[in-house]
């Protein structure tokens, strides 16, 4: 606990950098979708990545995690390349990126989160099962552990994905639109868990669509539209100017309340 206290008191400017992105350019079929991105994400922030459709938000996460190969630039996690730091990172892909008719149960999907620490060939055992059940309990899905995943509602599926990330016990969490297609209750449940993670000193990076909730949910924000528009504390940079630069239309102050 004492460690966490120190973490919270440390001014952001003096914290370690959890993620550092330098001159990152990613292209699909020679068309750049991310142009020369420089980005520093300090440890212990809950950060939203916002921007219009096609701004490259998901692409940025995928490039950081090595799922997509950039044509230029580099990414470090706590000062080292991603390949060496895999175990510090958990990833929640978009819900729509998988086939929910796949023959497997909720518990089994959560256990997939433990595969990374197991490495090749080794199989999950009792220890992995226990931590997966704990993660399921944390997201309020323990009662559904043996349910086939197609029998779950959209919000429940998203909670399963979150549990799968929690079970990795990582330092940095990347989430691609975790609030997409979930009901209000689930949205609150998810954001509460994310805030808990931040309290425990973790770094959480979320691709987010709903601009209304940015000030309420997040303390850090990155504006992205192929290029990086701005990044920093929500209270300093979440303003009309940056919104207009990112979305290309005039935004009224009202959005901030």
């Amino acid at each position: 606990m004492s460690e966490i206290k120190i973490q919270e008191k440390t001014p952001v400017s003096e914290r370690k950098m959890a993620v550092q992105v330098d001159d990152l350019t990613v292209a699909y079929n020679y068309k750049p979708v991310l142009w020369d991105i420089d980005l520093e994400i300090p440890e212990g922030v809950l950060m939203a990545i916002v921007g219009p459709n096609g701004a490259g938000k998901s692409t940025l996460i995928k490039a950081i995690l090595g799922i997509l190969k950039p044509i230029a630039g580099s990414v470090t996690i706590y000062g080292k390349p991603y390949d060496e730091q895999r175990k510090l990172v958990a990833y929640v892909p978009q819900k729509g990126s998988v086939d929910w008719d796949f023959p497997t149960t909720a518990l089994d999907v959560v256990m997939m989160g433990t595969y990374g620490s197991l490495g090749w060939i080794k199989r999950p055992g009792l220890k992995e099962k226990k931590s997966s059940l704990e993660a399921l309990e944390k997201v309020g899905m323990l009662a559904f552990k043996n349910r086939q995943i197609s029998q779950l509602s959209g919000g429940q599926q998203q909670r399963i994905f979150l549990a799968r990330a929690l079970v990795q016990d990582a330092s940095i969490y990347f989430m691609d639109e975790p609030f997409q297609g979930v009901d209000a209750t689930t949205e609150i449940a998810i954001i509460n868990i994310l805030k808990e993670l931040r309290k425990a000193g973790k770094t959480v990076i979320v691709v987010h669509h709903d601009l209304q909730t940015v000030p309420e949910y997040f303390d850090w924000v990155t504006f992205l539209n192929v290029k990086k528009i701005a990044t920093g504390p929500v209270k300093d940079i979440f303003n009309d100017d940056n919104l207009t630069k990112t979305y290309g239309i005039n935004y009224k102050v009202s959005i901030q309340e």
Partner: protein
């Protein structure tokens, strides 16, 4: 049964198992058609392999042919990646081209090569026991049995070693990549196994039956289970069942063994497609009918809840008020009575306490979509099964 009959059934069963394992993952990856492509395009690999080795039994020949299978997959992906055509079109472009090269190569050398297109496409299981392996003069069994036995052992070994990796990369390639399990490596590993199996099996059962043995048992199993391990097990059982029953069908009809096995696979799928307990056609139709009845029931209960005046609740007025036909009104009335949700007193219908609570809960669920509290209702009513 004589020895040859037992051997044929044994070969057919081993081929079925060897096909069902990669087939299950192909079906789950929605790549069933790629097995069709592989089974045809290995032909040029076989012919070239034969030119080099001059020996149809050579392992090098099997490896060369399997390599053509993997090349097929790579070519399909390359063409698809240009974004100019979709995957099915790319498959349709690649395998006929490779297959035709094989056909021309055979035709040009038809006189001195012991290979013909019919044998490649259809195989001839009945002849398999005649082609035997002798070790220092001792008969150790049919060649096909040895080839498929070795391939099957390798496939099972790989499945046990990499089951976890296959599962995660099939379900969620993005997560697999972020955890350090290269989805590309696993993908090409699976394609190599599928190619080697196809080459090893086609000699005994022909290229077309190989496709049927890969896809049909897995597709049938998919309709019956929601557990990957059980799906693999069922696919293996269905494959072996079709292989053996197909053999006896051929025996009885005096027809092609490969053709009969494929027929059995088709029949098996048809039966499961119709009668599978939850995903089958009949189960789905029954469920939809139940759902219709339950929506009607709920509409009816809500009507009772909303109207206290007796003329709205008279049995004979139900039809005109909710605008239902007689049969439907009776079904709904019976269902509500059976569940103790209504009372009928002098032809006036009223809600019981249970009916009242049920209606409130159901409406609450529909409005809020909060399903935790009505978990117990789900078993009674299909409507609430999400």
């Amino acid at each position: 049964m004589n020895n040859a009959q037992i051997e044929i059934q044994l070969i057919a069963s081993l081929v079925a198992i060897a096909c069902a394992i990669p087939g299950t993952f192909l079906v789950l990856r929605k790549m069933a058609m790629i097995s069709d492509a592989i089974s045809h395009s290995i032909l040029p690999g076989l012919v070239v392999g034969f030119f080099i080795t001059q020996d149809l039994n050579s392992p090098l020949l099997i490896l060369l042919a399997a390599l053509t299978g993997v090349i097929t997959v790579v070519l399909v992906e390359r063409i698809q990646k240009t974004g100019l055509v979709k995957e099915d079109t790319a498959i349709g472009l690649v395998f006929p081209a490779l297959f035709s090269i094989g056909v021309i190569l055979i035709a040009k050398n038809a006189n001195d090569i012991h290979l013909d297109v019919d044998a490649v496409l259809l195989g001839e299981l009945a002849f398999a026991p005649f082609d035997r392996i002798f070790i220092s003069g001792i008969d150790v069994g049919p060649k096909s049995l040895w080839i498929i036995g070795i391939i099957l052992s390798i496939t099972i070994g790989l499945l046990f070693a990499f089951f976890k990796e296959l599962k995660i990369s099939t379900f969620d390639a993005g997560l697999a990549a972020s955890l350090g399990f290269s989805p590309a490596l696993i993908h090409y590993g699976l394609m190599t196994v599928a190619s080697v199996t196809t080459v090893g099996a086609f000699d005994a059962v022909g290229a077309i039956l190989v496709v049927a043995l890969m896809i049909a048992p897995a597709a049938s199993a998919y309709l019956l289970t929601t557990d990957l391990k059980k799906m693999l097990g069922l696919a293996v059982i269905f494959g072996v069942f079709s292989a053996i029953s197909g053999y006896w069908l051929a025996h009885w009809l005096d027809a092609s063994i490969a053709g009969s096995i494929t027929t059995m696979l088709g029949l098996l799928f048809l039966v499961i497609y119709l009668f599978a307990p939850s995903k089958g056609l009949i189960a789905v139709m029954y469920r939809e009918k139940q759902q219709r009845t339950e929506v009607s029931l709920l509409t009816f209960l809500l009507h009772l809840k909303n109207h206290t005046e007796t003329r709205e609740r008279h049995v004979n007025h139900l039809q005109e008020h909710i605008n239902w036909q007689k049969v439907r009104a009776k079904t709904v009335l019976d269902l509500a009575l059976k569940n103790n949700m209504i009372l009928i007193d002098k032809n006036i219908v009223s809600l019981t306490q249970k009916g009242d609570e049920f209606t409130s809960k159901a409406i609450d669920y529909i409005i809020t979509n909060e399903d935790a509290q009505i978990e117990d209702m789900k078993d009674d009513f299909f409507l609430f099964r999400g």
